[in-house]
Structures are given as C-alpha cells and as structure tokens.
C-alpha cells in the first residue's frame, strides 16, 4: 500500500465547522503534557478523529474545543501525553444531530 497521500480536499477544520459544539470556555476537559515524548505525541496526532493534536517545530498544541469525546487519546496514551481526561460537563461538548 504505497503511493503518496491524496491531497486533502476538505480539511478537518472545515469539517468541524459543520458540527455543533457547546464549548465550555471555563473548563478544559482534556489536558496535555507538552513535554511528552514526540513519538507518543505523533500517535495522537494521527489517531485523533478531530485532528486536535498538532505537532510542529517541536511543540505540541492542543485545542479541546472540537473534541468528539471519543476517548481514543485516553486509551492510546496510557497516561503519557494526556495528563487529564474527563467528559465535558453536562450539556457541553459535541452535539450530534445526525449521529
């Protein structure tokens, strides 16, 4: 399975723009360790469905606002990178209209 990856026609940010989120500005429900091993960080960069983990020039940036609350990063990181994982408080977070 070789070959270069197809040019992305739609960015993940554009896709998240279609979704409905109630963002709790006062409570980040996931916190990350910016000093974590880059290899562990890259795993989450690749696996996060919402593309919220970004790693460039040696720095991890993470924004909880577009989170699907799926838990993939929680399961994958096994305590590394993700220093806290919880659900957003009631009423907050993603709201699927189709699902």
């Amino acid at each position: 399975m070789s070959g270069q990856s197809a040019a992305l026609r739609v960015s993940v940010e554009e896709k998240l723009g279609v979704d409905k989120f109630h963002v709790d500005e006062s409570y980040p429900h996931i916190e990350v360790d910016k000093a974590a091993d880059p290899a562990d960080i890259m795993t989450l960069v690749r696996a996060c469905p919402a593309g919220l983990y970004k790693y460039s020039e040696g720095a991890l940036t993470f924004d909880y606002a577009g989170c699907f609350e799926c838990g993939t990063c929680r399961v994958l990181s096994k305590g590394k990178v993700v220093s806290k994982w919880s659900f957003p408080k009631g009423t907050f977070g993603v709201e699927y209209r189709f699902g």
Binding site: S2, P49, A50, K78, P88, R97, G99
Partner: protein
C-alpha cells in the same frame, strides 16, 4: 434533583439504556435515565446498521414508527486497493420479516425516539447531566453523584458506552482497556437532493444498501471502510484499531479523505454536501474483552460492557445492546421482587445474558478478533484479487496466459500455504 430513592438509575440514554428503561418502567419500577448530552443520542454515533431482532422483541413492529433511514436489502463487500476494487454484491429481494430485517439508522433521531417510548412507559429522562462518580456505601454501589447532587438508587445500570468512565469505578474491570482492544471510527454524513440516493445506488423507496470495505480505507491496517445509504444522505467512514496509529504513515483524517477520493467512491459522493463529521471508539476485543458484568448494586450493559461483534461482513453492537438490556431488566425486576440488589441476586443478569443470543454469539465468534489481526487480509488479499481480475479482464493483443496461471500466479505471490492457513483459520473462527 429529587431526594427520593429510585429503583434504578441508568447512566446513558443510548439503545441499551433506553431499552432497559422501557422494560423496567413497564413493570412499574421507578427509573431515571441520566444523560450527559442535551437529548438522547446527542453523544451517540453509529456506522450504522441496526439488526432489528432484539428490539423487535421489546417493541414489535418498531420500525414502522421509529425514525429508521432505510431497510437494508443490498449488501456489498469490497476488497479495495489504490487502483482497484473487487466487490461481492447481493440483492435480497425477499419480502421483509421484522425479526430478520436490519435498518440503517442515525442515532440523533433514533435514540430520541426510543427514549420517548421509555418516557411514555413512565421512565424519567434527566438530560444535560454528567454522572461524575458512583455513590458507594460499604463497597456497594448505591447511586450516582452528579456535581453536587447525590442520587440514591437500589441499582445503577451502566449504559455509558464504549468510552465508559464508570466501569472501573464500579470495580468491573481491573485493567483499563488497551489500544489493541479498541478501534476508532470516523464518519461523514453527506446529504443529497431528493431521489439522488435512490437513483445513484439503484434503490427502491425505503430500501437501502450496506457496504463494507477492507484494504485501502484503513491504510492496510486492521480495520475497514463503510458506506450506508440513509433517506437523503449517505454515511461514509472507516474504522481502524487505535494501536495502528502508533506506526501508521497517515492520520485517520487522511485515510478518510483518500478512501472518499477512490474512483469507486468519489463519483457516488459527487455533489453531496457534508452535513456532519463525527468520531467514536468501538470495542473490538470480542468475547475475551467482556468485563465483569455485575457487582453489589450495579450492572453494565451495551457497549460499556464491550458487547460488539465485528466479522468484517457484519458489524453488530446495537442489537447486542438491546439484548443485554433485556437480560439486565429481567434480573433487576427479579431483584426488585426479592428486595435484594446484592451481587448474588444480580448474578441472574449474567445467567440470562449467557443464555441469550448475546453471549452465545460472542462466544461463537470468540476467535475472530484474533483472526482479523492478520495483515494479509488488508494488504495481500485485496492486491491478489486486483491482479487476478486485471489478468482476466484485460485484453492487450499479447498471447493469452491460461486461466489457471491467471489465477495461480497472484495466489502464489501471497503463498499457497498462507492462503490455505488463513482460509482454514477464517473458516474455523466463524
């Protein structure tokens, strides 16, 4: 929030939770469902296809009233490579039968409808409330804690889904689930103008297509793609084992875009408009991953109990959710009659579940998750089929090879021994 003690508090208003609520309310138990989303289904997502049989047993003829998208009459399975796609297609033209049918559903609408049936039977829904923790006394579960509120109950039914945070709190799983045991799924719902879906997929009104893919969608890793037809949209996406992203070249988002851009898929999505993008985890460890199912004052049902069967050609979770809800409701009703909600009494849940299709089926396919962890299924075999087909269907003026060698050469590349071994192993695990 009420100070009264409920017979049952159910965490999560998905199919498992709402079905359990409906059954308990019908028997007159006081039951409240606590849902962290603003409505039932707000946090839920499926590929997805609901096999009707188990919900049919609870609400006969439910599909006539429920917001289902389409009844599945067409099945397709594809092995996909970068430049090819080998597809087996089956049209089931027999008339529908409620206990054999399956439906494409979207959970936003479907779960809300199901929860309304439970509410009509007397269950209460508290939405927009996150259960933070379990209330315990002397080591037994006796309610839930939500923010400042403590809600007591005789029994707590965990129906909080694949990403349950309460399973370990209830002492039902000692070790957290590992990356090999969970997959991550992404899905786009792409909307079309009226009639486009039926014309493009050759469907009669109300009838639908379920299409599963192996190979390219998951980047040759353990996983697969899917495409389901809704009323006026399609659900297209893929699932891959989370552990695969420790070493993959691509992001899950790149995999999805590449799958959608494949020549077998792109024309089918043309002109559509993205209505929603979603992601969810799904358990895929099979029978051996099922946690302890009950403790004093608590039982776990649905995907929180990791009740999922993925065979590549059928993917099941929602029918197991409804099935486990029935077994749990039966045990809780008996516990109420006996006035005993201890682990000894709630052990009846496991007995009922073991006797039901849920555990029988999970046991039957116990070896399949291990069989799926075979790279050849997602790489060599799709490529082998592409080569065989290209050999058979290409005319280029050169001297023809014999049909036997057109078949055998690509098979030899994979290795005849591997083919035999995998074929046998696959057959045995099914």
């Amino acid at each position: 929030m009420s100070e009264d003690k409920f017979d049952a508090i159910i965490v999560g208003a998905g199919i498992a939770g709402a079905t359990a609520a409906l059954l308990l309310a019908r028997e007159g138990l006081s039951v409240v469902v606590v849902e962290r989303g603003n409505y039932a289904g707000a946090k839920n997502m499926t590929g997805g296809r609901l096999y009707a049989h188990s919900l049919e047993a609870v609400i006969p003829g439910f599909a006539e009233a429920a917001p289902v998208e389409r009844r599945v009459t067409q099945e397709r399975i594809s092995l996909m490579t970068e430049t090819g796609c080998f597809t087996a297609s089956f049209l089931n033209g027999r008339p529908g039968a409620p206990d054999r049918d399956s439906y494409v559903v979207l959970r936003g609408a479907f779960d809300r409808w199901l929860m309304e049936q439970a509410e009509a039977a007397g269950a209460m829904l508290v939405s927009g409330v996150l259960v933070d923790d379990l209330l315990t006394r002397d080591g037994r579960v006796c309610g839930v804690i939500a923010g400042e509120d403590k809600m007591p109950a005789e029994v707590v039914i965990l129906a909080d889904g694949a990403n349950s945070q309460l399973l370990e709190r209830a002492g039902l799983r000692a070790e957290p689930v590992g990356p090999r045991q969970m997959a991550v799924g992404v899905k786009e719902v792409i909307e079309f103008d009226d009639k486009v879906v039926e014309d493009r997929f050759n469907l009669l009104p109300g009838e639908g297509l379920a299409w599963l893919f192996a190979g390219l969608p998951s980047g040759g890793k353990v996983g697969g793609g899917f495409l389901y037809t809704n009323k006026a949209s399609v659900s297209v996406g893929l699932v891959a084992t989370t552990a695969e992203f420790m070493k993959s070249e691509r992001t899950i988002h790149e995999l999805l875009e590449r799958f959608k851009a494949h020549p077998a898929i792109e024309p089918l999505l043309k002109g559509g408009k993205l209505a929603e993008y979603s992601g969810h985890m799904v358990a895929e460890g099979g029978y051996d991953m099922i946690p302890r199912l009950y403790n004093d004052g608590v039982v776990v049902i649905g995907e929180a109990a990791h009740l999922v069967i993925n065979l590549g050609y059928t993917v099941r979770g929602m029918d197991l959710a409804a099935g486990s809800a029935q077994a749990a409701a039966k045990a809780v009703i008996a516990a109420k009659q006996a006035g005993d909600f201890s682990a000894r009494s709630l052990a009846a849940y496991k007995t009922f579940l073991d006797d039901s299709f849920v555990i029988k089926d999970m046991k039957h396919y116990r070896k399949f998750p291990h069989f799926m962890e075979n790279s050849r299924l997602f790489n060599e075999y799709p490529e082998m089929l592409e080569k065989i087909c290209a050999g058979i269907f290409t005319v280029d003026g050169r001297a023809p090879a014999s049909m036997l060698s057109k078949l055998m050469e690509p098979m030899k590349e994979v290795g005849l021994l591997n083919l035999m071994k995998d074929g046998l192993k696959g057959a045995r695990s099914l």
